[in-house]
């Protein structure tokens, strides 16, 4: 296959910083969880407590997956397998899309193919790189676990590592098919993100509906077989160690990759198999205005995240009655929430869940503002700024649309969560209290947005990376921070630590005022810097 090596070298060169960084963070992050979890939960008593409460309350399985027994291995699986599984899924899909669909879009594909390169070489090249990445992760994880003091044996370590690498490659294979169907890289990424989310939910439903068998293990409902994350969990690497489920994954990979190549053979370069429709002859009245154009550009991002956030809020609302009991015996959550009495327990739990979903709205805000850099880098901003639209107006429009969209999402999260709890369980909560609680996170969202604007003015090329990194940190600190007893100093870097977790904790207006001021400051400085720098593409 001609030119293959060149293509592989090209992919590695283009991602020479990204790939090692991703792999490093992935592997080290996971390995670091071992001593951290051990510290907090290592004792037999803690494990027994966790196991007993989880076993009695199956609803929690939706989010976390099962705990097979009161062992450290089960706990490790519970806390890491799914989340790192999600991460490796995204890693692989983004990689495949970037070097196939996206390439075609930017015309690089045509140029590559005009050389002595077989039509399918691009896909082969990126799949080989993906395979290499997954194998590297597998080896690193396996070796890492073996040298660390874990409490489980070599076979389990390697099965864990191999399961992780396999689920990664499964998603690379799925991506290989999806990129043949759509015309743009962004659509492909969007569809794949949706598939990953759906797979997670399907597996969650399977666990939720599952039944314990004779040996006390949870046997998920058959729908879990439809989800790659279901296959991931089926190997139970650190407990029962089943190698056979890997065969399902590998079989699927073979079929998916073959399908990808068959589809590839049938289409033109740059085209998707689904036909592209003709469009309108004239622009609508709204589209010709700066606001209209901004809404058009932000529309899909808003809708996608809105749906995701609402589905998550509704699902949590449905499962709440059972879930709250899980945490009644959990030391770290109790410490974190400082509760007394079971009504407040539910409120505390709901507040925590509200915070988590609202953090996802921050992700929407960063994603939405990412359009700023996108428009500049593509060169479209040049044409727009050559008209009557000023830099301030352009940036301001995007900012306002995202801020309003995000605020709507925050309020809707509180609304949906409260409504679902009220209608689907025995509990009753004050809906408006939750709407207000959601909105109270708006200043925090504005800080994220201000941070992005500042970076966009100062270091536009890094704006996205830094903003997402900080977001990742905040999300991690919120969800896992208390569980691994992260140092207070480190936790304080996360802005969520400085706001009240409402409604169980009363909204603290002073910190919100300070945070809003900080946000405004970031925005003003960012804007000023943007107006004084060159517009580069």
């Amino acid at each position: 296959m001609s030119g293959l090596l060149t293509l592989i070298r090209l992919i590695l060169r283009r991602d020479r910083v990204k790939l090692p960084l991703w792999i490093g963070i992935f592997v080290l992050g996971l390995l670091a969880m071992i001593p951290l979890l051990r510290d907090v939960y290592g004792s037999k008593e803690s494990l027994q407590v966790m196991y007993a409460t989880l076993a009695a309350n199956p609803a929690g399985l939706f989010m976390t997956g099962p705990m097979d027994g009161p062992t450290f291995g089960s706990l490790m699986t519970l806390e890491t397998l799914l989340w790192w599984g999600l991460a490796i899924a995204f890693l692989n899909t983004l990689l495949v899309v970037r070097h196939t669909r996206h390439n075609e879009e930017i015309g690089a594909q045509e140029l590559l193919l005009s050389g002595q390169v077989h039509r399918a070489s691009s896909l082969v090249a990126v799949l080989i790189v993906a395979l290499g990445v997954n194998v590297l992760i597998t080896i690193a994880l396996g070796l890492g676990m073996n040298v660390m003091d874990t409490g489980w044996g070599a076979e389990q370590s390697w099965l864990f590592a191999i399961s992780m690498g396999t689920v990664g490659f499964v998603w690379a294979a799925i991506a290989a098919v999806v990129v043949q169907l759509v015309e743009s890289g962004r659509s492909a990424n969007g569809i794949l993100a949706g598939l990953i989310g759906a797979s997670f939910v399907v597996r969650g439903i399977g666990d939720f509906l599952g039944k314990a068998d004779n040996s006390g293990l949870l046997q998920p409902h058959w729908v879990s077989n439809l989800s790659p994350f279901g296959w991931l969990q089926a190997t139970r690497p650190l407990t029962e160690s089943e190698w056979s489920p890997l065969l399902i994954s590998l079989g699927f990979v073979a079929v998916a990759i073959a399908s990808g190549f068959i589809l590839l053979a049938g289409r033109d370069v740059g085209a998707g198999l689904l036909p592209s429709r003709k469009g309108r002859r004239r622009a609508s009245r709204l589209l010709g205005t700066p606001l209209g154009l901004t809404l058009y550009l932000q529309k899909n991002i808003f809708i996608g995240w809105f749906v995701a956030v609402l589905v998550l809020a509704a699902t949590i609302g449905m499962l709440v009655p059972q879930m709250s009991e899980i945490y009644s015996n959990n030391d770290s959550i109790s410490q974190m929430l400082a509760i007394s009495g079971s009504d407040e327990l539910t409120a505390a739990f709901l507040s925590m869940m509200l915070a988590i979903v609202c953090v996802m709205v921050f992700a929407y805000a960063v994603h939405g503002l990412g359009k700023l850099r996108g428009e500049e880098a593509s060169g479209r901003l040049e044409s727009v700024l050559a008209t009557r639209v000023s830099r301030l107006k352009w940036l301001g429009m995007h900012f306002d649309v995202v801020a309003i969209g995000g605020s709507i999402m925050l309020a809707a999260t509180g609304l949906v969560l409260a409504l679902c709890v009220n209608t689907l369980s025995d509990l009753t909560v004050d809906v408006w209290e939750y709407v207000l609680a959601g909105l109270a996170y708006a200043p925090v969202m504005l800080v994220f947005m201000g941070l992005y604007v500042l970076l966009f003015g100062l270091l536009p090329r890094l704006a996205g990376a830094v903003a997402w990194l900080y977001f990742g940190f905040v999300a991690f600190a919120l969800w896992l921070g208390p569980i691994i007893k992260l140092d207070r100093v480190v936790m304080d870097i996360s802005i969520m630590e400085h706001v009240a977790m409402s409604p169980v904790e009363a909204i603290a207006w002073q910190p919100l005022a300070v945070i809003t001021t900080i946000a405004v400051g970031l925005i003003v400085i960012g804007l000023a810097v943007f107006r004084h720098r060159d517009v580069t593409s």
């Binding site: 743009s184 622009a283 058009y296 593509s378 008209t387 009557r388 060159d534």
Partner: protein, 238 residues
Amino acid sequence: MAEASTIIDIQNVTKKFGRSVALDGFSLSVRSGEVHGFLGPNGAGKSTTIRVLLGLLKKTSGEVRLFGEDPWKDAVELHKHLAYVPGDVSFWPNLTGGEIIDILGRLRGGLDEARRARLLDRFELDPTKKFRTYSKGNRQKVALVAALASDVELYILDEPTSGLDPLMEQVFQEEIRALRSQGKTVLLSSHILSEVEALCDRVTIIREGKTEGIYTMTELKQEHANLEALFLSKYEEK
């Protein structure tokens, strides 16, 4: 307004990007009502000059005046009087050509409907296709129609016809001549020497960020057989 006022006045402008010098004491002036050619080897600084003129880049030193004002400070006000065709045409992939033309026209302050329809017809552009489905030449036509359909004083065109076929090149030239006869001003940066020869009154040649020379078309025709001979002779000079 004086009989031939200077619409674009670039005096001794330097533009540095970090340590690399893109413009090195460059000067250019364009009079009202003329079609002014802008020539230079690749990487000489033509696009940089245009971007400075549009207020996208900040000059390091020197004076830039557009309609008598500073384009870095008054960009929005000045842009009401100009239309721009970028060197690298890129627009929103899922919008149609027609929509993009309308958007740019409206953002500029207005489109002449009759002109728009006539240009779409003359350039044989199908406005219902999505931008990403256009060929390179057609993408350029979208930018061209968007600019030429506006009724402004100044047209800044950065290699506007590099992807067009000879027939469309003729259409373009006829449209520019029409603009000139209406008293409009055009700054045309181009590599297509026959086009520059056919359309321009004066030509500024830039080389390595400096003004290599400013010539009238009559001067050029007297001294050199054609523009190409001039070009090569100027560029080969050390």
